[in-house]
């Protein structure tokens, strides 16, 4: 059977499965819709969190980015996993004990202020929209390459599917769909990785294969071979980076803190029964994520080595079929500058003849390694699972922010549960349409901004939540000014250096040599400082709020998550 037939079958079967699950576990109350009824087991929640977390970016782009960036790519590996330690130790158990529906719920109640709640809602919307647009785009790319439809049609198909199960099922529906999506995506990621690891090193475990010797009888270690190939072609050594130490430090920190501050991740811990379950499920989530995150760097090494061996100094006319296929999508381009009919793939931009999009590395990897057609199709189904699960999680945050935090808590407190559920469904629908629009007409900034969503989350939520739990005397004035200063500073830096606003600037103008991706850590520190300074000049929080804080520090008596 051809790759195309296999893709239709696998994508068709998985989509039917997701829709079936959504119909079976549809939401019947706002509690079902926001926190899946609050009775999700730690393992199911761990799997759902992992699928929610691993987006099109982790599945498709990350290994590709690392394979071109080498050591510098470690910032994503550590940043996107290390954040779970912060989440498990500093946030999840306490937020579960607090037991509300959303992150703005916590901010609004802990800081006894509608203003705080609204600021938090705005931050949640900015973070979630920047993130979700990238997911829809990922869906479109996969559809266009594997099902030969154009990207726009692909985005629309994705929209309809997400709309169907997020709107119908709410948190309850997406939690169980995400469990299935986790299984699909991890299987799809591991199968080709194991195949290629055996091919190249004879070791079936990619994490070990990466550090093993090559299978060709030379006895050379794979990583040494790749370091050698890279320097030969004029690139940096793979195992060394080119970014400055400060910047690597700052980006890693921003991604870690941002991970812990992302509302669609935090909200997952409202769905388990007890505080104890929240801790355990954070551990399980990271364990399940780590399977992909420790395999990805191995895939990067295999893919880069394979790529160089396949193309470097080889005749263009002898390139395999995958080369032509990807040329058609525009993600791979060859320009025979010296007209010798061979491909020169080198670091020197004047002489380099091959441009390769990061995203190809995972998607084309099975083809480059000559794996069977069903494996190639499986990768397509896995990439779709990753993109759809994350998109659904984000849409839920957006709809809950509107229906619960704005409509119910600010504009119309007397709204009935049933009406609120319909408002939630309505806002999810509007959010899908907006996300789809950005997926079809990606404003140039989408790609640039997705990575910065972490900076925004780090700069706004993380300090407000941590101070809210660990600093009993923190008051609303401090927290609100901290969040505002943090997010504005981050927006300023990002628009200045990414879009050239406020006079723009180049790398040479970066403050302390820190890139916009890493600036979230500076903005976060600014948030902490502003909060604490403002606190010194403003009144303490009322007694009852300090009692709430004492209460959330004790794990027993968590009860069920409520919206009241």
């Amino acid at each position: 059977m051809s790759v195309q037939t296999w893709t239709y079958i696998l994508v068709g079967v998985t989509f039917t499965l997701y829709i079936g699950i959504a119909i079976y576990s549809r939401a019947s109350s706002t509690k079902d819709f926001y926190v899946a009824g609050g009775g999700v087991s730690p393992l199911a929640n761990g799997m759902a969190t992992a699928a929610d977390w691993m987006s099109a970016a982790s599945f498709i782009s990350m290994a590709g980015i690392i394979s071109f960036a080498g050591y510098d790519g470690s910032v994503y590996l550590m940043g996107w996993t290390g954040g779970y330690v912060l989440l498990a130790l500093l946030l999840a158990p306490y937020l579960r004990k607090f037991g509300k529906f959303t992150v703005p719920d916590f901010i609004g109640d802990r800081y006894y202020s509608k203003t705080a709640r609204i600021v938090a809602v705005i931050c949640a919307l900015i973070v979630s929209f920047t993130y979700v647009a990238g997911q829809m785009r990922g869906v479109g790319v996969v559809f266009s390459r594997f099902l030969q439809v154009d990207i726009d049609t692909g985005v629309i198909i994705g929209m309809v599917i997400v709309l169907f199960y997020a709107v119908l099922g709410g948190m309850k529906g997406i939690t169980y769909t995400q469990v299935a999506q986790y299984c699909v995506l991890i299987f799809a990621f591991m199968v080709p990785a194991i195949f290629i690891s055996i091919q190249m090193t004879g070791n079936p475990i990619p994490q070990l294969g990466m550090g093993s010797t090559l299978n060709d009888g030379s006895g050379t270690f794979l990583l040494d071979k790749l370091d050698g190939l890279s320097t030969e072609l004029g690139f940096n050594k793979y195992t060394n980076g080119s970014k400055s130490l400060t910047d690597v430090f700052a980006i890693t920190l921003a991604l870690m803190v941002g991970t812990a501050g992302l509302p669609h991740v935090i909200v997952r811990f409202f769905t388990v029964k007890k505080v104890k379950d929240a801790r355990k499920s954070a551990g399980l989530a990271l364990l399940l994520i780590a399977i992909l995150f420790t395999t990805a760097p191995a895939v990067s090494v295999f893919a880069r080595t394979n790529l160089i061996n396949t193309v470097s100094e080889k005749e263009y006319s002898n390139m395999p079929v995958w080369f032509k296929n990807w040329e058609e999508t525009g993600l791979l381009a060859f320009d025979d500058k010296n007209a010798d009919g061979k491909i020169q793939y080198v670091a020197d931009k004047q002489k380099n003849e091959l441009t390769i999009d990061n995203d190809i590395m995972v998607l084309a990897n099975p083809e480059i390694a000559n794996l069977p057609a069903w494996v190639i199709a499986l990768v397509a189904a896995g990439a779709l699972a990753a993109a759809l699960s994350t998109a659904a999680g984000l849409l839920l945050v957006i709809s809950a922010s509107v229906s619960h935090d704005l409509v119910k808590k600010v504009f119309n407190p007397n709204i009935s549960d049933k009406a609120e559920l319909w408002v939630a469904r309505g806002s999810a629908t509007v959010a899908v349409v907006i996300a789809g629009y950005f997926g079809i007409n990606p404003p140039g900034f989408v790609a640039a901004v997705v990575a910065l969503a972490f900076g925004l989350a780090a700069a706004s939520f993380f300090p407000a939540i941590v101070l809210g739990i660990f600093y009993k005397k923190m008051n609303k004035e401090g927290a609100i000014s901290g969040m505002i200063v943090g997010i504005l500073l981050m927006l300023f830096y990002m628009t200045k250096f990414k879009f050239g606003w406020f006079g723009g600037g180049t790398q040479a103008d970066w403050w302390l040599g820190i890139s916009p991706e890493g600036f979230g850590s500076i903005a976060m520190i600014a948030n902490f400082i502003v909060s604490i300074v403002v606190l010194q000049f403003t009144p303490e929080p009322p007694e009852y709020v300090q009692e709430i804080v004492e209460n959330i520090r004790i794990p027993s008596g968590a009860g069920e998550a409520t919206g009241h």
Partner: protein
């Protein structure tokens, strides 16, 4: 301070101690071994891996997972000790 409050604050202190220790390890492994001292550790080689590079792309992630499970165990014990478990 009532008996109940005393118990709560003793619990919180022990919790804070655990957090301090675990987060120190978190910091040393990721920002220390994988970033600040990467070059020094790279002189040591285990199999095909330079140690600093291994920490950055593999080791730190394993440590993160272990840290959370150690935390879960410690806290479950602490909850029992203070009778906060349910």
């Amino acid at each position: 301070m009532s008996e109940k409050q005393k118990k709560a604050s003793a619990y919180w202190k022990e919790n804070a101690k655990y957090l301090f220790i675990l987060l120190s390890i978190w910091f040393i492994v990721s920002f220390g071994a994988a970033i600040l001292f990467k070059d020094a550790l790279d002189t040591i080689k285990i199999g095909g891996f330079k140690l600093g590079f291994w920490f950055a792309q593999q080791g730190s992630i394993y440590v993160f997972v272990i840290l959370i499970f150690v935390y879960v165990r410690l806290m479950n014990k602490l909850d029992k000790k203070y009778n906060y478990n349910e």
